[in-house]
Amino acid sequence: MTETFYEVMRRQGITRRSFIKFCSLTAASLGLAPSFVPRIAHAMESKPRTPVIWLHGLECTCCSESFIRSAHPLAKDVVLSMLSLDYDDTLMAAAGHQAEAIIAEIKQKYKGNYILAVEGNPPLNEDGMFCIHGGRPFVEVLKETAADAKAVIAWGACASWGCVQAAKPNPTRATPIDKVISGKPIIKVPGCPPIAEVMTGVVTYMLTFDKIPELDRQGRPKMFYGQRIHDKCYRRPHFDAGQFVEAWDDEAARKGYCLYKMGCKGPTTYNACSTTRWNGGVSFPIQSGHGCIGCSEDGFWDKGSFYDRVTGINSFGVEANADQVGAAAAGVVGAAVVAHAAVSAIKRGRMDQTNGNK
């Protein structure tokens, strides 16, 4: 099981020649002289696997569940051959003291050289005791573990944005991890959960190229989160043509028309679903007839019903969508205008009378 990077690549059918080519590309992309190629090749052939500590805060574990569904590379290969998943509550053999000892050991032995992956987030209310780890607030364990990490991966909407437990009124004050970890590069891989191959794609990119992928302003890898579902949705021709599903299971639904009117959030959601698709490319939400609910977007739980196209505004204490607010205001103003015009006309009539009498 313990294979070096090189062996894994070989097993996956990559030849020695392309391995060396890969190493020189790596050198080039890192801005290194060609003389570094043999060194990189050597490192790839022999270097220890990067240790990963995978912590869980408030979450539903479906990011882990998604991860193990990765088809290329297989989760098995990632976990056992490409990196060293030394701590992960969900999979590890040890528990209790024996588990806690691992974090301490990795922190010390690989100071500054391990990756911290976080699934879920820390609650801050009740001194953090809405999520307890070893008798202590999870947020403390998180901060301590992050302190010596090389980089931090924020898995899913939970770690990236807060997700469902942070939906209003966020009773536990669940907080995205970048609000409590500072001074470390944080790679956000949002989604509820993220696509398996996107997760392993980000990890293998980091291990292969030994660098952090290019991130957008919100901290997401551009390679997977640079475009909206809508930009690459295969139902887009129906959108442009104005062909919409008007009700569930109507004729249009059976023909696979656009789900915009059923509340599809594809036009506002940055994720790779419409191209990479799910579970080895079998389908994705829209392909199976339900609109995108925007699960990779910040605060997607609080944007009104998933079935509303024009979504609600809660800021005013009343729940209404923009059209309801606007139409109500227009009604008031319209009525006011009519009334005002009537009064003006009466007044003018009187004035004309007075003027006429003069």
């Binding site: 574990t61 056992l80 040890a94 070893g134 008798g135 080895g280 007839g289």
Partner: protein, 582 residues
């Protein structure tokens, strides 16, 4: 302090052992036990150590959205909360779903059982029985003989096992043990010979590869897994078999894909999971601890309605009912809406009720956090050394059925099926066959091993039901019915001013119920009582312990500082803490 409850003598005078975190489960769980001088557990305290407040968050929202929120209660039993939620809302609004929608939901639910159980057995539970390091000592040839003697699964040659063993060797020698680091290897409680260990390690890896195939049924009907999409009134995927645009819907190609997945799933269950289970169990027949409440009180709501919209016990392919006080001769009827039956208590839970000596039926349920520690807690509020179980000590509420703490889950379901052989002959026959094969009496079921075996048996049953439900779907399509959704009451303007409903499923881990009250088209109250809420329940107002706690009682530990037996028994329930507290 010592007292007796439910036939267990609790005594917390001995050495206290704390396990936190309990790993290889979903979510955050802590247990504390007291050991007597012979290292036998005499007191057990189980604590849910997380809370997110979904019930609070759901208030005021659109009931049609609730499935998505509750689905995020858990990604491991993904979908079951969503299904429970749409059933609750449909019950409240009296919405009838099309036959196809019911069958597709059944297919997805059955698919979840098979996937969840398989992953549990190999990836969350196996390491309690299988010593990975011992596999290094195995003879690959003998391993191959063992494998071929129990199954005709093709991957079983000596070369295959030798190759795997070599990789395992290098892995161990690298010093980077990954998830196997600090495991309890070499603990005398491990009983398998090296060959069985090597075979199990091979299947641990094969199952990891295969499980991702199983869930594709969810992907086809629900768009993704984890967390597929659902719909109040039916299912979101439309069916189109031969019209224009059929490629945009469930069509023949999609149906063929489903069929091929469920066929291969059956193969894996029959040829790998079940033989492994029997092989491993045969070495542990003597270790029959961990029965806990299973021989006394078990509960199941039942699931897989064969015909649409009929949720009566007679129409359910997974059994419904309650057994209390160990009387297997009487199956009690279960009614989710009867205020006397299901009630939740919070005397020892970190919540507040106006009167905590009483329980609340979920329709009137209240969820208000209240984190206070008992006076004898050791440590501080943010650094707990030992909890005080005489005070509040868990984020899990304490649900009771007619006042009884109940065990829910595979074992409960299989027992309820076993005692109703007329309705569930397959369950009866399979259990009898397994008992015979292992040469153990029926009472052996009331144990950790019994729970693990019941899960395997249920997996086989569900894999079979999956094939049957698929045929049913095809027959209905053949009859010309393509409907998948009923939209008569889709618009909130068609709803009554107030409504209430209850939805249930059997989640992989047991009886799951959601109760919803709707007022002015918005959720007024939403309550979930979840399998692990039942099993992980803390003490109640009468001091009755929950199923986890009961199951740990009187178990001897081979090594006091290695919680292997504790893990083994807890894992046999497949605890899900995100579910339990939600």
């Amino acid at each position: 302090m010592a007292y007796e409850t439910q036939g267990f003598k609790l005594d917390n005078s001995g050495k206290r052992v704390v396990v936190d975190p309990v790993c290889r489960i979903e979510g955050h769980l802590r247990v504390e036990v007291n050991l007597d001088s012979s290292n036998t557990i005499r007191n057990a305290v189980s604590t849910g150590t997380m809370w997110r407040g979904l019930e609070v968050i759901l208030k005021g929202r659109d009931p049609r959205d609730a499935w998505a929120f509750t689905e995020r209660i858990c990604g491991v039993c993904t979908g079951t909360h969503a299904l429970t939620s749409v059933r609750a809302v449909e019950d409240a609004l009296d919405i009838k779903i099309p036959e196809n929608a019911n069958t597709i939901r059944n297919l997805m639910q059955l698919n979840l059982y098979v996937h969840d159980h398989l992953v549990h057995f190999y990836h969350l539970h196996a390491l309690d029985w299988v010593d990975v390091v011992s596999a290094l000592k195995a003879d690959p040839k003998k391993t191959s003989e063992l494998a071929q003697s129990i199954s005709n699964w093709p991957l079983s040659s000596p070369g295959y096992f030798r190759d795997l063993q070599n990789r395992l060797k290098k892995f161990v020698e690298s010093g980077q043990l990954g998830p196997f680091m600090n495991g309890y290897w070499g603990n005398p409680a491990y009983k398998l010979p090296p060959e069985a260990n090597l075979m199990a390690v091979a299947h641990y890896l094969e199952a990891l590869d295969f499980q991702k195939e199983i869930v594709k049924v969810h992907t086809i009907f629900g768009g993704k897994n984890p967390h597929p999409n659902w719909l109040v009134g039916g299912v979101p995927c439309a069916i189109n078999l031969d019209g224009t645009g059929a490629v945009g819907a469930i069509n023949m190609e999609r149906l063929n894909l489903v069929k091929s997945i469920i066929d291969r799933t059956m193969e894996f269950v029959e040829q790998v999971y079940i033989p492994d289970l029997l092989a491993i169990a045969s070495f542990y027949k003597g270790w029959l601890y961990g029965g806990g409440l299973s021989s006394k009180n078990v509960l199941s709501y039942g699931d897989i309605p064969d015909k649409a919209n009929d949720y009566s016990a007679a129409n359910l392919l997974l059994p419904r009912g309650a057994i209390i006080n160990g009387d297997l001769g009487k199956v009690h009827a279960v009614d989710l809406k009867d205020p006397e039956q299901i009630q939740e208590f919070v005397t020892h839970s970190w919540y507040k009720y106006a009167d905590e000596s009483k329980g609340l039926h979920p329709f009137d349920g209240v969820t208000e956090p209240n984190f206070v520690l008992g006076p004898k807690t050791k440590g501080s509020k943010t650094n707990i050394q030992e909890l005080d179980e005489s005070g509040k000590y868990s984020w899990i509420k304490a649900p009771r059925w007619r006042g009884h703490a109940m065990e829910v889950g595979c074992l409960s379901r299989m027992l309820l099926g076993y005692v109703q052989p007329k309705q569930y002959p397959f369950i009866r026959d399979t259990i009898d066959a397994v008992l015979k094969k292992l040469d153990v009496p029926v009472t052996a079921l009331f144990s950790t091993l019994g729970r693990t075996a019941a899960r395997g048996i249920e997996t086989l049953y569900c894999a079979k039901l999956q094939l049957e439900q698929f045929d049913k779907l095809m027959a209905n399509l053949k009859a010309g019915d393509l409907n998948t959704a009923n939209v008569d009451k889709w618009e909130p303007s068609t709803w009554p001013k107030t409504a209430q409903g209850a939805g249930f499923t059997e989640a992989p881990r047991g009886a799951l119920g959601h109760w919803v009250r709707i007022k002015d088209t918005k959720i007024d109250n939403y309550q979930c009582v979840v399998p692990t809420t039942w099993n992980g329940s803390p003490r109640d107002h009468k001091g009755q312990i929950g199923a986890f706690e009961a199951s740990l009682m009187n178990t001897p530990l081979a090594k006091a500082d290695q919680p292997l037996e504790i893990l083994r028994t807890l894992h046999s329930f497949d605890p899900c803490l995100a579910c339990s507290t939600h």
